[in-house]
């Protein structure tokens, strides 16, 4: 039992060790590879995204530039700038601006400002009288560089009365007949810029912001936090020209710059966000590994069982054979060595079985032929002796004795020779012995006395036939015949525990059973034959023994099993 387990466990352990370590190695390698590909893929993707956002912002600003062109070429603007104090022209222009900008959510205001201070806007409020616009960057630069347009950074526009809005503005000079007559101001709120930056999603925490070339923030998704100094970007302005992921602090910056508008688009990624994203997939890897491990466990169990099961079957079969059951067939159907082994084993048991059967048959045959030979031996021997006695009586002319003798001889033959069964009732055997004794008594007259007695109920017990006669014969020839005077023979049958005992006692001269048996020609055969027949039939525990009797003589004891 222990050995079988060991094989199975050894197999399982080996399989588990190899398969599990391979499984974890594969999972680990794929995790690391995947983690790295996230990194590479994202780096490229984000760099591309920075470029895309930058392009969109540029396109947007460009469209504002186009809008400013359109406004400058408009007749109403030209008319107004020539006569800024004309109220009807002001109204006309105002109406036009309001109409044009009705659906523009991204434009905070448009102001057409004459150098003399009058202005037309698309808004209903008046200009803020305290607004110091003549010093403002957008105004100064537009006036000073009439051929260019000026794009401001983010600032609070206080030009419109009662409003303070964060805007980015595009301003340019209004030139009429070679003279700067005013400034056109387009203030953009951050609606479009914000949506462009926000739609570029970068991971969970990544974001996009815009700066000018000096690192001043134009738009930032956490602009208020940045303005409140609660957050800051650690990227220094001189690194704004770098590409492909600038690491600064805990963030990675991907920058794309545009020379035309001189703004930089910065995509920000948290360095630990990458790590977190990698970790985020880890539970799935663990799950996969666990599923693999369970499959491996089951697999190694099944495989090792598959290998050891036939061995176990074979072992069971073998131990059955060991216990003596030769009809065992090891039912193993496999093509490997174990299958071969099982086949060989089955073949072996089959052969063994056949051999045993053969052996048994042979033994039985031998016994039968032996018995036949024995009977063949008895018959002539006894017949000669009796016939000798009859001859002797005939010579004495004792007719009566001859009749008696012949009658008994007939009975003797009937009870012994004509009976075909090997086993006969004890009564028949006793009758047989009596017939024989009777014949001998006639022969020896008063020299022989006999008595036959049995325990109640033993008469019908089966015994081997021709059991008593040879012993009686032996007692007469070797016990009483050499003795001077008369002798007695007694036969007594009784049971002792599980055995049937038949005692044949004589008070003759006695004999040494060891050398007496073959002492006289023809006579010794009977006794030897009785013992071997009993043993042939019932085994070594039964048989014939001799004991010296007190006061001379021999006691022959036949031990037989009780066979009712």
């Amino acid at each position: 039992m222990a050995k079988r387990r060991q094989i199975m466990y050894t197999l399982m352990k080996a399989l588990l060790a190899v398969m599990l370590s391979m499984c974890f190695l594969i999972v680990l390698v794929s995790f690391v590879l995947n983690a790295n590909t996230i990194n590479d893929k994202e780096t490229t993707a984000i760099q591309e995204m920075a470029g895309r956002v930058d392009q969109e912002i540029y396109t947007y600003i460009n469209s504002m530039h186009d809008l400013s062109e359109l406004i400058l070429l408009d007749d109403d603007v030209t008319l107004f700038i020539e006569a800024p104090e004309n109220a009807s022209l002001q109204d006309e222009l105002k109406n036009k601006l309001v109409r044009v900008l009705e659906n523009r959510q991204d434009i905070s205001s448009i102001v057409v400002l004459s150098t003399n201070g009058t202005a037309v806007t698309n808004r209903n409020s008046d200009l803020n009288p305290y607004a110091n616009y003549r010093d403002a960057d957008w105004y100064v630069k537009a006036i000073n560089y009439p051929n260019q347009y000026f794009l401001s950074p983010s600032y609070v526009q206080n030009l419109i009365g009662g409003e303070y809005r964060w805007v980015v503005s595009l301003s340019r000079a209004i030139v009429s007949r070679g003279e700067v007559k005013g400034v056109l101001l387009i203030d953009l709120n951050f609606t479009t810029i914000r949506s462009v930056c926000e739609t570029a999603g970068i991971g969970e925490k990544g974001y996009v912001y815009l700066t000018d070339q000096n690192g001043n923030i134009i738009y930032h998704p956490f602009q208020r936090l940045v303005y409140s100094n609660l957050k800051s970007e650690t990227l220094s302005p001189e690194r704004l020209s770098e590409e492909g992921g600038v690491r600064s602090g805990d963030k990675i910056y991907f920058i794309s710059g545009n020379n035309e508008i001189q703004w930089q688009t910065v995509c920000v990624l948290y360095a630990n966000q990458l790590w977190r994203e990698k970790i985020a997939v880890l539970p799935y890897y663990i799950l996969i590994a666990a599923v693999f491990a369970i499959v491996i466990l089951l697999l190694s169990y099944t495989i090792s069982k598959q290998i050891t099961q036939p061995l176990r079957h074979l072992q069971t079969a073998m131990s059955q054979v060991e216990r003596g059951d030769l009809n065992v067939v090891a039912k193993i159907h496999s093509d490997n060595e174990i299958g071969e082994l099982a086949e060989t084993f089955n073949h072996m048991t089959q052969q063994l079985n056949q051999l045993m059967k053969q052996n048994k048959e042979e033994m039985e045959q031998r016994r039968a032929s032996e018995l036949k030979a024995l009977y063949a031996q008895i018959k002539p021997h006894f017949l000669y002796n009796t016939l000798e006695s009859i001859i002797w009586m005939a010579e004495k002319n004792s007719q009566k004795d001859i009749v008696f003798m012949t009658k008994n001889l007939a009975r003797l033959f009937r009870t012994s020779i004509s009976v075909k069964d090997e086993l006969v009732p004890l009564s028949l055997e006793l009758e047989n012995a009596e017939s024989y004794l009777a014949i001998q008594k006639i022969r020896y007259g008063s020299k022989i006395n006999y008595c036959i007695d049995t325990e109640e109920g033993v008469e019908n017990y089966k015994v081997v036939r021709l059991l008593l006669q040879p012993i009686v014969e032996n007692a007469i020839y070797h016990g009483i015949k050499p003795k001077e005077g008369s002798g007695n023979i007694s036969i007594y049958a009784y049971t002792s525990e599980l055995d049937l005992i038949i005692e044949i006692t004589d008070d003759g001269v006695g004999f040494d059973p060891a050398n007496a048996k073959p002492s006289k020609e023809g006579t010794g055969i009977g006794i030897e034959n009785v013992d071997s027949r009993i043993k042939l039939y019932f085994g070594e525990n039964y048989g014939l023994t001799f004991k010296d009797r007190k006061g001379g003589g021999v006691r022959a004891i036949i031990t037989l099993p009780i066979l009712p």
């Binding site: 600032y155 208020r224 609660l230």
Partner: protein, 320 residues
């Protein structure tokens, strides 16, 4: 053998579950619940609007769910005390409190601490010692700086009237103390408690200036509400420029008063920062991190000339 197999699988599954749970908690942080007990529900006050925006910004960043509760006006002390009681029963993960009264709220603070709820005071603290973490302006110092500003433009021989929003609130008491200490008692013509009402402030201003007392050279209104009352009164009286106005806080209205010269100097607090940092401190407290006993969010002195400097734009005008 089968049982062993079953046991091994069970162990494996359990092990996986533990690993999974561990990494999941690393990734999915549960939302914390914080209740902010403010001083007023009045949403015309830009100061509190900005505080709330700061709270929201931090709450969003730290995945906090927060609720803002407050009495209708700053003078409803009893209502705030009752609110604290209710909130303590809710057992939030932390409480941020702006105490309407630094003395009367002591008991409430003690109750919050007894309930084991982390507490941060914001803008207005309590007198209770041991001190509760505080996020806000160093009001006494702000008062001193205000006094310093006033002295630069106060005409000789003129005096200052201080309009307090509520003298039992920590903000009111400390600012007033700072101003009085900075100016010296002889420069202070009087201090008035306006009970956080711009109407009251308006009337007090009209009373003080309308009585013909020419010795008053400066009105110092020490929060947004009384400042707007005072500014309106000075403007309506046509005294813009002749009677100087020093105020605390800013609003669009006050900025117009700065532009037109009615308000000479504004001591501007940083309500957005206050809200943001108070929320962050509460978050840190929940996670057993050390936070400073006092976080000074700072002030900026604003006048007509520096109103639109890039730095002050960022502070005064909220980027939406």
């Amino acid at each position: 053998m089968r049982r062993r197999l079953a046991v091994s699988i069970a162990v494996l599954v359990a092990f996986t579950a533990v690993l999974y749970a561990f990494f999941s908690t690393l990734i999915f942080v549960p939302e914390k619940q914080i209740v902010v007990i403010g001083k007023t529900m009045d949403d015309t006050i830009e100061f509190w609007k900005n505080v709330k925006e700061g709270l929201s910004a931090a709450a969003e960043e730290y995945h906090i769910k927060y609720e803002y509760v407050a009495p209708q006006t700053e003078k409803d002390i009893e209502e705030q005390i009752a609110l604290v009681k209710d909130v303590v029963l809710q057992k939030p993960d932390a409480i941020i409190l702006s105490a309407a009264d630094s003395e009367l709220l002591n008991e409430s603070v003690r109750n919050i601490q007894a309930a084991g709820i982390p507490l941060v005071t914001m803008d207005s603290g309590v007198d209770y010692s041991p001190a509760v973490p505080f996020v806000g302006t160093d009001n006494y110092n702000a008062g001193l700086l205000t006094a310093e500003q006033i002295k630069t433009f106060l005409e000789p021989g003129k005096k200052v009237v201080v309009l307090n929003h509520y003298s039992n609130a920590q903000t009111g008491a400390e600012r007033e103390q700072g101003i009085v200490d900075g100016l010296g008692a002889d420069l202070v013509a009087g201090t008035y408690n306006c009970y956080a009402s711009d109407g009251e402030a308006y009337e007090v201003t009209v009373d003080v200036l309308g009585s013909g007392a020419t010795e008053i050279g400066c009105i110092c209104a020490i929060n947004e509400v009384v400042a707007r009352g005072a500014a309106r009164a000075v403007s309506d009286l046509g005294l813009s420029g002749s009677v100087k106005l020093a105020v605390f806080d800013s609003s669009q209205e006050l900025i117009r008063f700065i532009e037109n010269g009615t308000v000479t100097v504004a001591v501007v607090q940083k309500p957005f920062n206050m809200g943001y940092l108070a929320m962050k401190s509460a978050f840190d407290l929940i996670h057993y991190r050390n936070i400073p006993a006092e976080t000074d969010t700072g002030i900026v002195i604003i006048n007509k000339n520096n109103l639109f400097t890039p730095e002050n734009q960022k502070l005064l005008f909220s980027f939406q």
